[in-house]
Amino acid sequence: MKYVIIGNGAAAVGTVEGIRSIDTNKENTITIISSEKHHTYARPLISYYLQGKTDPERMKYRPDDFYEKNGCTLVAGRTVNKIYASSKTVLLDDGTEIGYDRLCYCTGSRPFVPPFAGLDTVDKKFPFMTLDDAEALAGSVTKDSDVFIMGAGLIGLKCAEGLYGRAKSITVADLSPLILSSILEENTSRMVRAHLENKGIRFLLGDTVEAFNGNTAKMKSGIEVKYDILVLAVGVRPNTAVIAECGAKVNRGVQTDNKMFTGVDGIYAAGDCTETFDISCGQSRILALMPNAYMQGECAGVNMAGGSKDFENAVPMNAIGLIGLEISTAGSYCGTVCEKKDDDCYRRFYCENGLLKGYIILGDPCRTGIYTFLIRNRIPLDSVDFESLMADPCLSALGDDNCKCLESVV
């Protein structure tokens, strides 16, 4: 049995660990093809890298001996140009062909850059996606830099946090009138924005660049932004071209079943390039989240190696810190809203049909996993003391029966 994994991120590592949990025979080789030259690393950590909280050595997602221990061959710095599903081979950009029995497609996503006028006149412009991007950005930014970040989503704002204190000024622009619109609703978005503005970040919202001209951007609103460094964090697109060509079904992302099988013989897919069924909203969508990527990969790996595993309780969730403010979110924002406020924490819950559907917590993230458990396991709220849970997440308010379904609590 020959396994091939395209990609080297969390989904790929999950796939390796999934395969090896079933198939421990290292003669059944795993080949990992990665466009980056690095050992597998934790991509979301690049903003922490900018902050100096970590370094490339510590950012390694798995120990140095990971590939060797798991019988993997890493083909680094190569991309796959084609998958020949009929002959079960992949073609690399250097012309090499590699055969497979089972393939996992974990190519992730790439930055999406709209065709701005005059973008080619900008000298120092960076995407913020990979360790190489972060290293290049870190090498350019100085105490005197004025940084202009296009995009007030997770990537743009984590980049702003990473640069906070390292640059003279940071301006963030987004077409949306709200920041972090993918994970926050209006109220919380405004609260986070107020916090960041308070820290000195400037926002230009509901606005976008009409044209770049060297170190100046002319906004649609007429405002002119001067900058030394431009970061492009407008959005990402899943890397689906290669797999789409070989016959897999691709909507926004690659379509798979619960076993992460694409429908094309021997080919599985996992990670940010795929769509996942989000149980909190009942829709298939791209959940570009690292935990999700790992679990999809693990599921794919188990099934590739002949085991049987389903990935069927995906819930979007995020835990991010932005210059001292903790934000924890999960699920979908539909249904009735319940709020809890105290001095240092704001909690917003969404309930529908007697179930918790989602939450947004600004401040202390203490024990938020208990809320995620309620969403993920669809625990009926009338079986728990939800009033006290909202104020203070604790197991005892879950009631004995729900506690029992959590392994052996008592």
Binding site: Y61, M290, E298, P365, T368, G369, C394, S396, L406
Partner: protein, 143 residues
């Protein structure tokens, strides 16, 4: 593998486990110097709901979602014990968001802390177990 189990019926809600846990992980030789006038951050916590109390710490799950979700690769299994590489952890709190037991919390240094069965500071029994006055926390092998 030996794990910590709770005998709920014997928990007195005295919270001694929390203080002994914080002491055991303080690296100090006296509980007074370790905890006096300090913010106590135990890795075990006493759950209270009305008169019902029980102490709770990491279950060291067989299939731990915290490890799968860790974005930095800091959480890992070592001899069945879910452990944190403090050097790698950046304090992103993703593990807190997924742990259904609420068994992970942030330490003073911003990096996550959780029960590691006292493997670094004791030579056998976790401190919460050996210092429970009523046998409400036990350390044993179960199927």
């Amino acid at each position: 593998m030996k794990r910590i189990f709770i005998n709920k019926q014997w928990c007195l809600g005295c919270h001694l486990c929390e203080f002994n846990c914080a002491f055991a992980n303080s690296g100090k030789t006296s509980m007074v110097t370790a905890l006096k006038d300090k913010q106590v951050r135990p890795r075990v916590r006493v759950e209270e709901h009305g008169k019902d109390t029980f102490a709770f710490s990491c279950r060291h799950c067989k299939d731990p979602i915290c490890i799968k979700s860790c974005i930095s690769g800091a959480l890992h299994k070592d001899n069945g014990i879910v452990r944190i590489d403090y050097d790698k952890c950046v304090g992103c709190c993703t593990c807190i968001t997924v742990c259904p037991y609420g068994a992970i919390a942030r330490g003073d240094d911003g990096v996550m802390r959780k029960c590691e069965l006292c493997v670094d500071n004791m030579d056998g029994t976790p401190y919460c177990v050996s210092n429970c006055p009523n046998g409400a926390i036990v350390f044993e092998e179960r199927d």
